[in-house]
């Protein structure tokens, strides 16, 4: 089996140089051109000082040059650190402090890479156990966790995922998820090595862009998060239903999907394979379900992916009997080797190639994984994780607020899964702040999905004797009314 994606891309370029690799607006990039740009940019990066193990920030939108720079960094031996170009400057500075990058590739830098004259390659493929990407994902305390993924992790996972989904040459796959997001980036890798053409669009901004791209590129595959599909579903037959004959499959991930949305997708797309994965940045796509085949098990996350084992374990780490709930652990060549700059968290999470996921659930005798919930307080807004501590800290800095506690509550629109609800204690002798003012305050320091959409003023927040916030009580609306 291929041990690195660079080798797979080289083979594909040799065999099918004229086939389409990327589509973005009017632009088409063949596999031959893709590899040519990757080799050229890699040599340039080496000349700019990128050495094996060096970190390169990739801080740009989903354009073809993002893909060139991504694989070129790998070929140069570097580690890609994807950054949301919309992230606040403070987040970017924190990441820079933690990873000490040799280079930051922004949209402007990527445009300059497009101008480089073509050069012949010759750089050796990276070593399979070298780190390819360092993905930062929200941690429970608000300090993002750095998740390294090796070339072997990625190549193994891609090959397994393609086996499940059946990606094949001639497929045209639409990736509306940003490439800085692990789901978008993972799909890019899978589709390219599977021989599909990848259509890049700028996020699930507005649904017309998705429908137009599906139509104009005659797409056969679409990925997305449940919140995105919730928006598309509102168009019913005249939306996704119009593509029922052509869409061979869709893949959903990153957050739970309500049962009625699963059933609506099945009704609109009766011939389309509808896959949903369960996974984490640290162990991508650990399980899959296909809705039509498993129509009686839509309450589950499906079964473990090929080469992956999932077990429920008790508090001592011993496997639970089938059907008995416990902490879910996962094992396989897709599991990250351990967190960046956090040995303590790594030791608590990764044990002998297994990862303690933080999710509770059980595995039934037929191997279906049933999720019961998370053991922590992370909020999932449309697939983007929010650590409540971070939001609370920002709100508590507002002059009108003395204390804040945040929890996830169901999105009343039925779209994003959860939204952030903030419970606030007023500061003494300060004029009150409106919800709009608080949202503006939060939006100045936080990404949009972290900004609360609901506020409630309370006399006091529920706390333990030691002063720790009891978020479970907030979730149960047990805060003392102001």
């Amino acid at each position: 089996m291929t041990q690195t994606l660079i080798e797979a891309l080289r083979r594909r370029s040799e065999r099918h140089p004229k086939r389409t690799a990327l589509l973005c607006g009017e632009r088409r990039v063949t596999h031959g051109e893709l590899l040519g740009r990757v080799e050229t940019v890699a040599l340039h990066l080496v000349e700019r000082g990128v050495r094996p193990g060096d970190r390169v920030l990739l801080d740009a939108p989903s354009v073809p040059a993002f893909v060139f720079a991504y694989f070129a960094t790998h070929l140069a031996g570097g580690i890609v650190v994807p950054v949301d170009p919309g992230a606040p400057q403070s987040r970017r500075e924190e990441l820079s402090r933690r990873v000490n990058p040799v280079l930051a590739l922004t949209a402007e830098a990527l445009a300059a890479l497009e101008e480089l004259p073509p050069r012949q390659g010759g750089l050796p493929a990276p070593k399979p156990d070298a780190v390819a990407d360092l993905i930062f994902t929200t941690g429970t305390t608000g300090r993002p966790k750095g998740v390294p993924l090796t070339h072997r992790n990625q190549a193994t996972a891609a090959s397994h995922i393609n086996a499940v989904i059946g990606t094949r040459e001639g497929d045209v796959d639409l990736i509306p998820i940003p490439l800085y997001h692990a789901f978008g980036l993972g799909s890019l890798r899978c589709f390219l090595i599977g021989g599909a053409s990848v259509v890049l669009v700028q996020g699930f901004r507005l649904p017309g862009e998705i429908f137009t791209a599906l139509e104009s590129h005659r797409a056969t595959g679409l990925i997305g998060v449940p919140a995105g599909f919730a928006v598309l579903l509102r168009f019913e037959e005249r939306g996704l239903g119009a593509f029922a004959e052509r869409l061979r499959y869709i893949e959903i991930g990153s957050a739970p999907m309500p049962l009625e949305h699963k059933q609506a997708l099945m009704r609109l797309l009766p011939q389309t394979e509808i896959f949903m994965h369960y996974g984490l940045t640290e162990a991508a796509r650990s399980a899959f379900i296909e809705f039509h085949r498993d129509r009686d098990r839509l309450d589950t996350a499906g079964r473990a992916s090929p080469g992956v084992t999932i077990e429920a374990r008790d508090e001592s780490g011993a496997p639970c009997p089938a059907g008995t709930p416990g902490m879910l652990w996962t094992h396989g060549a897709h599991v990250s080797p351990g967190y960046w700059d956090d040995a303590e968290l790594s030791a608590a999470t990764f044990v002998d190639g297994w990862m303690r996921t933080g999710d509770y659930g059980h595995v039934d005798p037929a191997g279906y994984v049933v999720l019961h919930g998370r053991h922590d307080d992370l909020i999932n807004v449309g697939g983007a994780k929010v650590a409540p501590d971070e939001v609370e800290q920002v709100l508590a800095e507002h002059p009108a607020v003395s204390e804040a506690g945040c929890v996830g509550v169901p999105d009343p629109r039925g779209i994003a899964g959860q939204v952030v609800r903030a419970f606030l204690v007023a500061a003494a002798d300060q004029p009150p702040a409106s919800d709009t003012e608080l949202s503006r305050w939060a939006a100045r320091q936080l990404e949009q999905h972290k900004v609360p959409s609901q506020y409630e003023w309370v006399a006091a927040l529920p706390r333990t004797a030691s002063g720790k916030l009891i978020r479970a009580a907030l979730r149960a609306q047990k805060a003392v009314k102001a």
Binding site: L206, P207, G208, E209, F211, T212, R234, F235, S439
Partner: protein
Amino acid sequence: MNDFQRALRAALVAQFGADPASLDDDTKLFSGGLIDSLSVMDLVTFVERELGKRVPPADIILDNFDSIAQIVAFARTLGGARQDS
């Protein structure tokens, strides 16, 4: 300003929390972060109700919906009950 434009502006303030003081015809609604893109259907539903016309799904793009001016211009292409008054 026609009836549709007035109603749209009022809805953006009342339903979507826009600040009336800083909302002008060219304020970027989605790309400026004023409206969460997941709420686009609420805006589309408002437009459809006001105009008595259905918005084709492929037309729900930033070029048509990212500001009051763009929505009003798009509404003219749809025709409908209120946009010419």
